[in-house]
Amino acid sequence: MNRIWNTVATLSFGIILMTGCNKFLEEKSDKSLAIPTTADDFKALLNDWGYVNSDFASMGEACSDDFYLTDEDYSSLYYESDKRLYSWMPDYVTRSLSGGGHEWWHCYKGIYVSNSILKGLDENNLRDRRANEIRGQALVFRAARYLDGIQIWAPVYNRETAASDLGMVIRLDPDMNLPSVRATVQETYDQILKDLAEALPILPVSTISPALPTQAAAHGLLARAYLIMGDYDRALQNAEQSLSFQSNLIDFNDLDEQASFPIPVTNQISSEVVFFTRMYGSNMVNNLDIAKINPDLYGMYQDGDRRKAVYFRADNEGHYLFKGTHMGHSGLITGITTAELLLISAECYARLDDVDKAALTLNRLMINRLNKQSYQPYQFQDKHIALNTVLAERRKELIFRGLRWSDIKRLNRDGASITLHRTINGQNLNLMPNDKRYAIALPEDVIEISGIQQNSR
C-alpha cells in the first residue's frame, strides 16, 4: 500500500510539474526586454535619440572649406582615415568600425530602426492616429538619413545623369539577409520624396521636442531636398509651409557674447530648431579646438554682425574657432532650423526672380543677427545680386551644420566653379569642381563584404 502511494505521489509530482511548466516558462527572462508589438514599444524605439537623432554624417563637413587644420593639428589627428579624408584622398577615408565613427553604418543603423518600426506597425496592424504618427515619424527619419547619406556617397543630383549615377543602397525592410544593391541617385531622391510625402498627412502638428518630427520637419526636409534637386518652386513652397508652423528666431542682440555657448537652449536644443538631428560627435569637425575657421569666411562677416562674437572666439594665436552651437554644448546639429528655412525661401525667391520677397525674407533673419543700431535692411535691384547675397548669408549663417558640402556640390553643378584649397605641410591640394571625389568613397570593408559597387575613382 505504502509502496503504491509513494509511486503515485512521485508520478503526480511529475505531472503537476509538467502541466505547470508552460506557465512557469512564460515569465520574461529580463523585465526590461520586450517584443515590440504595441504603439508604445515603437514610440520608445523612435525615442532612442542615440541611434535615431544622432550620428548624422560629418564627412562632408570635414571635406568642406569652412574650416582648416594647422599642420600640427593635422599631424595629431588620431585616425589615419581622418587625415586621408581631410586631404581628399580617394580611398580609405572611413574609420574602422572598432575606431568608432563608421558613418556608413551610422546611416544605416538609423534606417534599420525606421524600417523595423514601419514593418512592425504593419505586422501588428496598428493603424490608429497615434500609430500613424509614429509611422510618419519613422518615415521622416528614414528620409532624413537617405538625404544625409546621398550628399556624402553620391555625386550631386543632376537631372541629366541622376538616373544612372550611383546612389544609396535603398533598404526598406529590416531583413538582414536581403542583399545590398546600389540604387541610382534618382531612385534615392524619389524614395526620400515618397517617404516624406507619405508621412506628411499622418504627422502631428507639434511634438514634445524637436527630436520628434512634425509636419514642419517633413516640409523642412522636402524644402532641403528640392533645393538640392534644383526644384525651386517646390523648395519654396515647402519652406514657407514649414515656417507657417514655426518661425521662431532668437535675437542675437539679446545674447551674452562672452558666454562659451551664447545661444540659449532648453533641454540641449535651441528654440530655432525645427527638427533635431545631430552630427557624429568625435572627429576633426566636432573638435571645436582644432577646427579653425577659414579666414575668408570670417572676413565675410561685416562689422555689427552679432554672429562674429556669438559664433566665434579667438584663440591666443589669432585663429577663430566656432562656438555658436544650438545645443548649449559643443554638439553640432544637422537638422532643420527656422533660419535655414528662411534662407531656402529667400534663395528660391531670388532664383525665381522675386527679389523683393527675397529681400523681405532675408531681412526677417538679418534683423535678429545684426546689431540693432547699425541694421540696414537689404534691398535688391537684380536677381544676380540677390542670389549672391542670399548665398553669402546662407554660408555665414549655416556653418558647421553639414550643409556646406552639398551646397558646394550643387553650386558647382550650376557653374559656380568653387575650387577647394588645402595646404598640408607645405603641400597644396586642390579639389576641382565636380571632381569624382565629391562622391566620397564607400567604406572598403562594406564593398568587400557586400560586393556593392564603389564610386568611380
Partner: protein, 1055 residues
C-alpha cells in the same frame, strides 16, 4: 555496592600503573610479514615499528585500548587489545583496493568509477589540499586532468576550459555544481576547507546529464559530510599566507627621460598648441604645462629645464612600489566537528578568512555550515544542509593602473612621503588659480585620495538544502531534493567631500553669481548605493533503481528538475550626503547647467537604475547503466531542457541531449592473464548536445532604457535581431579510453582519446554594415572538429617504509580546426585582432588562431615598419590593414589556446615529512606581445618600454624591429606594426605552481594528528619559450601584473 565499585576502580588503577607488553605480527593478505608498519597505542601515544618479519612488541601502561597500524601502501587498521588479547595477528589490506573504490559524483548520482563508461577526472581531497588559499577553482589547473586556464583570448580573468571549447557563445566557463545543484551564487563564497573531493565531467556521457549548461564541461564539488557510527572528531586548520608585493617593473613602462624628451619635442613641433588654446582647458601633462608657462613668461627657462631634468630621473613605479603596494596577508581559520550515531550523522563547521590585499583592500569571509542526516526509519532518510556566508570587501589604495593619466615621470609623494597632486580632469596650472579661491580645492592626490573614497561590498549568501530519500522496494528508491539560495549584496561607494570625485563634481556645477557662488550640486559627500539580490530555487524529484539482477547490475535514475533564478538590482546616487545626520541634498535632474569651465550645458547624473531578470529551466532526465558479470557495462542517458529564453515559443524550447556508452573490463575475462597489468578496462562513449543562442529568438526584441534627455520618454533599443537563417549550435563528442593498473599499482592511469564535432558555431562575423544591425550580433559562423588525448598517470616510484615517492602526471593534447566557414566573404584584417584573437574562418586552421601581417623589416632609411602588399615591400598601411591584404597573405602561426598542457605532481614522504611539488605547463600556442604605438603615445600618453629600443639611425634596422619615432602619427602604421608577425611569440612555458612541505607530529593523547605545513605558491616560471621576458599568462592587455608569489604557514589538528 559502592564499596565493590570502589574496589574495582582501585584494581584498575593498579593495572593502569603497571606495564603491559603487547606482541603481534602484521601481515599482508598473502601472509607475508610486513615491515616498517607503525604501531601506535592510542591512549599513550607510544609507537613502534614492525621488524622485517612483521613482528612488533609494544610496552604500554594501559591494560586495554586500541592499537592503530599505519603503512603508506596499506589501509590503516585499528585493533582493540585487552588482557585476553596480547598476541595479535593483524592483516593489512593493500591500498590498491582503495583505487577501485573511487566514487564519482555527477551531481545526480554517486557511481563507482569501475562501473561507469564516461570520462571523469577526480581530484581527491588530499591533492586538493596541497594548495592553500581562500578560493577553490584557482587550484584546479595545477592538479586536475584536462583543465587549463586560458589567458590568451580575452583580457579579463583567465577562463577555465575543460577539453577546449565546445561552444563559443553562451556560458563559456564550465558549469560548477556544488553537491547536487549548480551553484548560482559567487563561487568564492564556498570555503575550500569543506571540499571533500572534486569530479570533472569531461565527455558527453559524463556531462550530458547536465544538458545545455554542460557544453564546456562540468565541475562537481562534493563537500564533506558527517558519517554514521563515528566518534566525534574535531578538525582545525589555521593558516597564514603572505603574498609578495607585485613586481611593478614587469609593466613595460616607457622611461621617464624618453617620455619627457618626447613631450618636449612634440611641444616644439606645436603638437599641443590647440589644446593649450582650448577654451575648455583640457588636461595636459606637467611637461607641456611647464613649457607653455615658460613661453608665457611665467616661469624662467632655467627653472623649468631644471625641473624637467629632475623629472627625467623619476620612475613613478618606484613611488608606487614604495608607498602603495605592500605585501598581502591572508589569514584562514577553520574549525569543523563531525560525528554520527547509527541513525544520525552530522558535521558543523565555521570558517573565517581575512585577506588584506597588497593595495590595502580587505576581504573578509565568514562561513557557517550545518549538515545533518537522519535515518527516520530504515527506509526514509532526511538530509539537511545549511550554508551561510558573510563576505565583505573594502577597497584600498589606488594602484598603478587605477590612477588616471599617470605618466612615467609623475611623483605621487615627496621625499618624506607626503602626498603630491598630479594633474587630472583639466590643466593643472589653470585649475590651481581658477575661481578666485571660491571653488573647492581641485587637486588630485593619488596617494591619499583612497582615504576619502571607498567602495564597500557586503554580501550574504544563504544556501539551504533538503534531501529526502525513500526506499520503495529493495533497489528502488525515490528522492527529492530542494535547494534554496538567497544571495544579497549591498554595495556602496562613498566619496566624501574631501575626495577628488566629490570636489570635482561639485566644482563643475558651481555657478558664479554676484561675486559669490551657488552650488548646484550640494556640498557634502556623494554616495552611490547598489543592491543585487539573487533568489534561486531548485527542485528535483527522482527515482533511482539500483539492483543486482543475477550476474548483472542495474543502476538507473530518472527525474524532473525545475530551476529558477531571480535577480534584482538597483543603483542610486545621493548628493550632499551627510553621514552625521543622515541627510541628503535636493537635486534638479531636469535642467541643464553650464559647466563652470567649458560653459557646456550638462545634466546632473542621477545614476539610477533598476533591473530584474528571471531565468527558469525545466528539465527531464534519465540515465541507466547495466553491468553484466563485472565485465560489460552499457550506459545511456537522455535529457531535455526548456527555458524561458525570451521570445522562444514554448514548443521550440525543448532542447534534447543524449549519450551512450560501453565499457569492457578485459582483465575480468577468463582468457585474460597478465600479472603485469592485472587491471585493464576499455570504454567508449558518444553523445550529442546543443546550445541555443538568445538571438535565435523568432522576433526582434528590444531593451528598455531610461528616459530620453530630449523627450523625457523612456526609450528602447533593439538588442536581438531576428535572423531566420540562424540555426542551433550542436556538438557531438566521442570518447575512447583505456584504464590500466600494473602490479602493486606501481603504474596506474588512463589514456583517453576524444573527438568532437561542432556545427553551426555561434560567433561574431563580419557583417554587411548596410543592413544597419549591430555588427556584434551572433551568427552561425563555422563548423569545427576537435580531437585530443588526456593521459592520467600515477606512479609509485619509490615505496620504502621510510621513503616514498609518487608522481601524478596529467597530460592533455588538444587540437581543433575549422571544417567549414559559412560566410562567403571575409576580411583578412578581422583575423588580426590585436585586442583578442577572433574566431578564424580558414578551413583546417584552429578555431582561435594567431595570424599576423607579414613583416618586411624596418625601412633602412626612415626606420618605418614595412609590410607586404601583393608580394612587394610596402608602406601603404591603409591598404595593408584595409582590404589590400587577403587571408592568404597573412602569416599563420598556430593556435591561440594551448594545444599541449597539463601538470606534474611529485610527492615525497620521508618519515613524518611530506614534500609536494606541483608543476604546470602549457605548450603549442602563440600570443602577441605589446609594443609601442605612437598614435596612442602622443594622444593618450601610453608609452612602452620598447621605445628605448626604437630605430634611431640608419643601420639600427639590423638590431631592432621597433619602428622609429617620426613625430607624426599614422594609426594604420601602428595597427600594422601591432598586428605584424614580428610581435608574435611562442606561448610555451613551464611553471612551478607550488611547493608544499608538511610535517606530521607524532600522535599524542590530545590529538589524533597534528600537521605543520609550509606552502609556496605561484613560485614562478621555470622555462618559457619567448625571449622577451613575458609571462605568457600575463601578456594580453595593458599594464598586467603577474600574480605574486605567496608564502604560507599553517597547522592542521585533528582531535
Amino acid at each position: 555496592m559502592r564499596i565493590v565499585l570502589l574496589g574495582c576502580m582501585m584494581i584498575m588503577m593498579t593495572f593502569v600503573q603497571g606495564q603491559v607488553l603487547i606482541k603481534g605480527v602484521v601481515k599482508d593478505s598473502l601472509d607475508n610479514g610486513l615491515t616498517n608498519v607503525t604501531v601506535l597505542e592510542q591512549k599513550s601515544g607510544r609507537r613502534v615499528m614492525t621488524d622485517q618479519l612483521g613482528k612488533f612488541e609494544l610496552i604500554t601502561v594501559n591494560d586495554s585500548g586500541n592499537l592503530v597500524f599505519q603503512h603508506v601502501g596499506y589501509r590503516e587498521r585499528m585493533k582493540a587489545f585487552d588482557p585476553n588479547a596480547r598476541e595479535l595477528l593483524i592483516i593489512l589490506d593493500a591500498k590498491v583496493s582503495e583505487i577501485e573504490e573511487v566514487i564519482i559524483s555527477t551531481g545526480y548520482q554517486h557511481v563507482p568509477k569501475e562501473r561507469s563508461t564516461g570520462s571523469f577526472a577526480t581530484v581527491s581531497g588530499e591533492l586538493f589540499n596541497q594548495q592553500v588559499g581562500t578560493d577553490i577553482l584557482s587550484r584546479l589547473p595545477a592538479i586536475a586532468n584536462s583543465v587549463v586556464m586560458d589567458a590568451g583570448r580575452s583580457q579579463g580573468a583567465p577562463q577555465m576550459m575543460v577539453r577546449g571549447l565546445s561552444t563559443i557563445n553562451g556560458p563559456k566557463s564550465p558549469l560548477i555544481v556544488v553537491d547536487n545543484f549548480p551553484y548560482d551564487g559567487d563561487i568564492n563564497n564556498i570555503n575550500p576547507n569543506i571540499v571533500e573531493n572534486i569530479t570533472i565531467l569531461k565527455d558527453a556521457a559524463a556531462s550530458s546529464i547536465w544538458g545545455a549548461r554542460a557544453a564546456n564541461g562540468v565541475i562537481v564539488i562534493t563537500t564533506k559530510k558527517g558519517t554514521f557510527n563515528k566518534e566525534t572528531t574535531i578538525d582545525l586548520n589555521s593558516m597564514l599566507m603572505i603574498g609578495e608585493r607585485p613586481d611593478l617593473y614587469y609593466i613595460p613602462q616607457m622611461a621617464a627621460s624618453d617620455f619627457v624628451e618626447m613631450e618636449q619635442e612634440l611641444y616644439r613641433r606645436g603638437f599641443y598648441r590647440s589644446k593649450l588654446n582650448s577654451a575648455s582647458k583640457p588636461l595636459i601633462s606637467p611637461v607641456v604645462d611647464l613649457l607653455d608657462l615658460v613661453d608665457q613668461g611665467m616661469v624662467s627657462k632655467e627653472d623649468a629645464f631644471a625641473q624637467m631634468d629632475k623629472w627625467k630621473t623619476i620612475d613613478t613605479r618606484d613611488q608606487f612600489d614604495r608607498y602603495v603596494y605592500k605585501p598581502s596577508f591572508t589569514q584562514q581559520y577553520f574549525l569543523s566537528a563531525s560525528g554520527g550515531s547509527p541513525a544520525f550523522s552530522w558535521i558543523s563547521s565555521i570558517g573565517y578568512d581575512r585577506d588584506v590585499q597588497s593595495l590595502g583592500g580587505t576581504y573578509q569571509r565568514l562561513n557557517l555550515r550545518f549538515q545533518n542526516t537522519y535515518n527516520i526509519t530504515d527506509k526514509l532518510s532526511l538530509t539537511t544542509d545549511l550554508y551561510y556566508t558573510l563576505a565583505r570587501n573594502r577597497s584600498g589604495r589606488e594602484g598603478y593602473t587605477n590612477v588616471p593619466s599617470l605618466l612615467p615621470y609623475m611623483e605621487i609623494a615627496d621625499e618624506s612621503g607626503n602626498a603630491l597632486a598630479i594633474p587630472r580632469g583639466n590643466r593643472k596650472s589653470f585649475l590651481d588659480s581658477f575661481g578666485d579661491g571660491q571653488l573647492l580645492d581641485w587637486s588630485y592626490y593619488p596617494l591619499t585620495d583612497w582615504k576619502y573614497q571607498s567602495r564597500n561590498n557586503n554580501a550574504t549568501d544563504l544556501l539551504g538544502k533538503v534531501e529526502l530519500q525513500y526506499e520503495i522496494t529493495a533497489g528502488l528508491s525515490a528522492g527529492f531534493n530542494y535547494q534554496y539560495e538567497r544571495q544579497g549584496a549591498l554595495s556602496s561607494t562613498l566619496a566624501d567631500e574631501d575626495s577628488y570625485m566629490a570636489r570635482d563634481y561639485i566644482n563643475r556645477f558651481t555657478q558664479f553669481k554676484n561675486g559669490g557662488v551657488e552650488y548646484i550640486v550640494p556640498r557634502g559627500a556623494i554616495l552611490d548605493k547598489g543592491s543585487q539580490t539573487l533568489i534561486a530555487n531548485n527542485i528535483r524529484g527522482r527515482l533511482n533503481y539500483n539492483k543486482e539482477v543475477g550476474r548483472g547490475h542495474i543502476a538507473a535514475i530518472a527525474g524532473i528538475e525545475v530551476r529558477s533564478a531571480n535577480r534584482q538590482s538597483y543603483t542610486d546616487r545621493f548628493y550632499g550626503y551627510n553621514a552625521n545626520n543622515m541627510t541628503v541634498g535636493n537635486i534638479d535632474y531636469r535642467h541643464t547647467y553650464p559647466n563652470v569651465i567649458t560653459g557646456g550645458a550638462t545634466y546632473i547624473q542621477n545614476n539610477q537604475s533598476i533591473g530584474e531578470t528571471d531565468t527558469r529551466f525545466v528539465s527531464q532526465f534519465a540515465n541507466a547503466a547495466y553491468s553484466y558479470d563485472n565485465r560489460y557495462t552499457v550506459s545511456a542517458s537522455m535529457r531535455r531542457d526548456a527555458s524561458n529564453l525570451f521570445g522562444l515559443k514554448t514548443n521550440e524550447q525543448w532542447n534534447p541531449f543524449w549519450s551512450a556508452g560501453l565499457a569492457w573490463k578485459l582483465s575480468n575475462e577468463n582468457f585474460y592473464r597478465s600479472d603485469l597489468i592485472p587491471y585493464l578496462n576499455v570504454r567508449g562513449t558518444y553523445g550529442f548536445s546543443g546550445n541555443v543562442d538568445p538571438s535565435m529568438v523568432a522576433v526582434n526584441t528590444v531593451t528598455y532604457a531610461n528616459p530620453s534627455v530630449f523627450t523625457g520618454i523612456p526609450f528602447a533599443r533593439y538588442t536581438n535581431f531576428y535572423n531566420p537563417q540562424l540555426k542551433w549550435e550542436t556538438s557531438k563528442m566521442m570518447n575512447l579510453a583505456i584504464d590500466f593498473r600494473t602490479k602493486n599499482s606501481r603504474l596506474s592511469g588512463a589514456v583517453e582519446y576524444y573527438r568532437k564535432w561542432g556545427k553551426n558555431l555561434f560567433g561574431q562575423a563580419p557583417i554587411d554594415l548596410t543592413t544597419g544591425i549591430n555588427p556584434s550580433m551572433q551568427r552561425n559562423v563555422a563548423n569545427m572538429r576537435g580531437h585530443g588525448v588526456d593521459v592520467e598517470l600515477t606512479t609509485i616510484n619509490i615505496d620504502r617504509p621510510t621513503f616514498q615517492w609518487r608522481t601524478v602526471v596529467n597530460f592533455s593534447l588538444y587540437k581543433d580546426a575549422i571544417t567549414s566557414y559559412h560566410l562567403p566573404r571575409t576580411l583578412a584584417q578581422q583575423y588580426v585582432n590585436v585586442a583578442a584573437p577572433p574566431i578564424s574562418g580558414i578551413e583546417g586552421k584552429p578555431v582561435y588562431a594567431i595570424y599576423a601581417y607579414k613583416w618586411a623589416g624596418l625601412d633602412p632609411a626612415t626606420g618605418e615598419a614595412q609590410g607586404l602588399l601583393n608580394g612587394e615591400i610596402s608602406k601603404d598601411y591603409a591598404s595593408i590593414v584595409g582590404v589590400g591584404t587577403k587571408e592568404e597573405d597573412l602569416a599563420y602561426f598556430g593556435s591561440a589556446i594551448p594545444t599541449r598542457y597539463g601538470n606534474i605532481l611529485n610527492a615525497f614522504s620521508y618519515g613524518a615529512f611530506n614534500l609536494q611539488v606541483g608543476i604546470t605547463y602549457k605548450q603549442g600556442y602563440w600570443f602577441r606581445r605589446s609594443s609601442i604605438n605612437y598614435t596612442d603615445l602622443f594622444n593618450n600618453g601610453r608609452g612602452h618600454s620598447d621605445y628605448s629600443m626604437r630605430w634611431q639611425n640608419p643601420g639600427d634596422e639590423r638590431i631592432t624591429s621597433v619602428p622609429a619615432n617620426l613625430y607624426s602619427t599614422n594609426n594604420n602604421r601602428d595597427r600594422f606594426y601591432e598586428g605584424s608577425s614580428v610581435l608574435v611569440e611562442k606561448g610555451d612555458h613551464l611553471r612551478l605552481q607550488y611547493i608544499r612541505l608538511a610535517y606530521d607530529l607524532p600522535r599524542l593523547k590530545s590529538w589524533n594528528s597534528l600537521q605543520l605545513y609550509f606552502n609556496m605558491q605561484n613560485v614562478g616560471l621555470l622555462w618559457k619559450a619567448n625571449k622577451a621576458g613575458i609571462d605568457p599568462d600575463f601578456s594580453l592587455g595593458r599594464n598586467r601584473l603577474v600574480t605574486p608569489r605567496t608564502w604560507s604557514f599553517g597547522i592542521k589538528i585533528k582531535i
